[in-house]
Subunit: 466 residues, 2 copies
């Protein structure tokens, strides 16, 4: 026996070992924001590619390195696997985890027996799971059904600032690929894993209001009794923020919606399909939400999610924030904002809109804007081989995949999807996981197994060996 | 030689020892917000009163204790000394101090050689300085020129929540006093120490916006890609705050200015006197301010300070506030606000205005308000003996005191000034000090000496023994 049936059987048989390998991998911290464990984790990834008989290098960038690898199997098709080895910080989540975030522990949670750890869902769990599948194929003395090119970056959670230059410098090597795959479990509704065709673009900025020539205390917070005589940077920031978005959530930047194209009929059909599922109940449960924006449900809710850009406040801080009282007029105030962009909106244009808005509001005296990340949306055609292979692969396992024209999150898929590489891509996979960027991020044990089986089936389907 | 001349001489002679005693006192932390060192400092205060041959008790309250003491000298007049032994927190000022805040170190700073420590200005420095003067008089084998009643509380920086019940329970003992004195250096303009006749009232509230039945994530922050589908508590808070105060600083609560009485002609005269001094340059220098509200200077600036109520944001926090980026839609957001009130505004009425505003804005679904502190303004007549004695005492030392109808800060003087006690009072003293509630709080060494001499002169003047 070889091919899909055999590999599925082996995954089942050796699953305990697979789980242990994922636990080991998530135990290694790799926080791109602080740099903790970044080098070590890049080296682990290099070793994983080499363990498959491939070649790999830890490629330095001006930031954290990219792991670039190739496994040449003489196969007809070559799949570029894009993933990341970095994770979000946990420093601001202290005391909110049921197990320490880097101990790789299995815990019983309402979603079922799960591995609970930072990065287990986003995205070190599925990355290690992908390697588990390849290792299992190799252990059966088989060649992988496709050649692989790996691009595993260490700055996705920082907005992938140095991935563009890496891609630019490796066009030759990367153009060996026929398609790109981003392995990530997306099965919030049991039996309905998501096939993801796109992502929203993102602009992430930080605004700082600070006292200076215009007024306000400029070096330290002063006694708040001065507040009738001295300007307040935090009040300025609050008033400025209130001009950016109205109370219904509409973004007030001039021209923000100008380039937003209406959903295509195909996108509308996908939205209808999703609306028929129990996605909404699952969202309520998993994110502890009792009511969505303006009471939206079903079709209206999924259309907001898929088809609306937005402006979010990720963080806001000024002055005295500890328990109790302190009477101080703070000298500075900071806000972190992210904007999610849809076709055909351009991040560069949105940054210009922000700059013009600051000017128009007369805020340039007191406000400084720093652009942390920005990159465009991307979208892959549903008709491409790689998407069709992913659909067939999951159907082969008895699942009913659900095609999402995009998710509302952002990832730098445009680097592979746009010229010169022009690779079609697919993201997603089977398996229940959740709470990315939140405490108690998890991947159910059963979900990990489903994920791995889905990956195996996909590799053979994409190779035309189903 | 006895009386003022002798004591001034002794202070000069023994000043090094006085300075050491103040350094020792400020080395003992006494942070009411955390409780650190509160008990120990209360005991130190008790011992200080007993050291003068008086009686003292550490009186428990539902919060931190009040030190109540009496020194009976058989004098004609009895002065109630109100002070505090607690200080503001330093936890949010980490790394901003030039010397550790509780090491009692003397440092060379632009203001001159100074003791730099938390509480050295507000108010443990002047409190210990007051005791230094009394100890010096006793060391000369003289009786104090007045009887003293001490009320030294440990919760002033928390808004004195339990001082009202302490006063109520000790009316009999406190009514032995003829006047109240609050020792605190106020000599920002060299040679022009302030005589302070009043304080603004205060309301300090905390607002928390949180996800719930109305919408938003209710238990933890979620991935910010959900922002087009899920309400944002921090956006709600920002919009709500922007309805509380306009961009010019005018408070938008309905009825807020209704009970504000215009300045009296006497208050106007005091303001004119202050406007003639260099107060503005001193403010610019000491608080690092380059421009005041709407470019106000001189008379207009001091009138804003003295005669305008206001609403300040002391602190604001939500979501991810550390370095770098995290894409999260926070489930809660908090703001700390203080309002400063003038005659005849009532704190209770302002709290009701806030409550009505929350209702009117439809914010009660998502917003919870907690009142931390509140108490009224107070004002003492400039014609009273205690004020006249303070003026004469400083003139005797060659200074030209400047009468301030009030300072913009708040203190619970109303408890002594209003019925049933009805005590006239005076606050202030000679000596340069600054940066209360800020890093590098200081009291110049020369200022401490001037302060003590001013206190000595005042005690003899108030006793009619000048």
């Amino acid at each position: 026996m070889s091919g899909i049936g055999a590999i599925i059987g082996s995954i089942e048989e050796n699953f305990d070992r697979h789980l242990d390998k994922i636990r080991e991998f998530v135990r290694q911290p790799s926080i791109s924001a602080s740099g903790e464990g970044i080098r070590e984790t890049a080296e682990l990834c290099r070793a994983l590619v080499e363990g498959l008989g491939g070649e790999a290098r830890v490629v330095p960038t001006e930031g954290h390195p990219v792991v670039h690898g190739e496994v040449r199997e003489g196969a007809d098709r070559t799949l570029l696997v894009y993933s990341m080895y970095d994770v979000q910080p946990v420093a601001d989540e202290e005391g909110r985890w049921i197990v320490p975030p880097f101990r790789g522990e299995v815990a019983d949670i309402p979603e079922g027996k799960s591995l609970v750890a930072r990065g287990v869902y986003n995205t070190k769990g599925p990355l290690r799971g992908f390697f588990n599948v390849c290792e299992e194929i190799k252990a059966m003395n088989e060649a992988l059904p496709v050649n692989l090119v790996f691009v595993i970056e260490g700055e996705e959670e920082l907005g992938s600032p140095h991935l563009p230059s890496f891609v630019e410098n490796h066009i030759q090597e990367l153009s060996k690929a026929d398609a790109m795959y981003f392995p990530m479990p997306q099965e919030s509704i049991p039996g309905r894993p998501n096939i993801v065709l796109g992502v929203k673009g993102i602009v992430y900025v930080e605004l700082e209001a600070r006292g200076g020539a215009w007024g306000g205390p400029s070096e330290f917070g002063i006694h708040s009794s001065m507040a009738s005589s001295v300007d307040s940077p935090v009040w300025r920031l609050v008033h400025f923020l209130s001009t950016l978005r109205d109370e219904e959530g509409r973004v007030l930047l001039e021209g923000f919606y100008d380039d937003l194209r209406p959903p295509t009929s195909e996108e509308n059909r996908f939205a209808e399909e999703i609306a028929k599922t129990g996605f909404e109940d699952e969202w309520r449960r998993s994110m502890k939400i009792r009511r969505f924006v303006q009471g939206a449900t079903g079709r209206e809710l999924i259309r907001r999610y898929l088809f609306e850009p937005n402006l979010n406040i990720d963080g806001l801080v000024s002055g005295f924030t500890l328990k109790g009282t302190k009477t101080v007029l703070p000298h500075s105030a900071r806000a972190k904002l992210d904007l999610r962009l849809l076709p055909d909106m351009s991040p560069e244009e949105v940054v210009r809109q922000l700059e013009r808005h600051i000017e128009a509001q007369g805020a340039s005296d007191f406000l400084k804007m720093t652009v942390h990340d920005m990159y465009p949306w991307s979208q892959s055609p549903p008709t491409s081989d790689v998407v069709q292979a992913k659909v067939a692969a999951l159907e082969r396992l008895g699942m009913r995949p659900l095609v999402w024209p995009r998710i509302a999150g952002s990832a730098p898929f445009y680097l592979f999807n746009r010229p010169p590489l022009n690779l079609p891509y697919v993201a997603g996979g089977a398996g229940k996981a959740g709470r990315a960027h939140s405490p108690n991020e998890f991947f159910t044990v059963e979900g990990i197994k489903r994920f791995e089986k889905g990956v195996a089936s996909f590799l053979y389907h994409y190779a035309g060996m189903e």
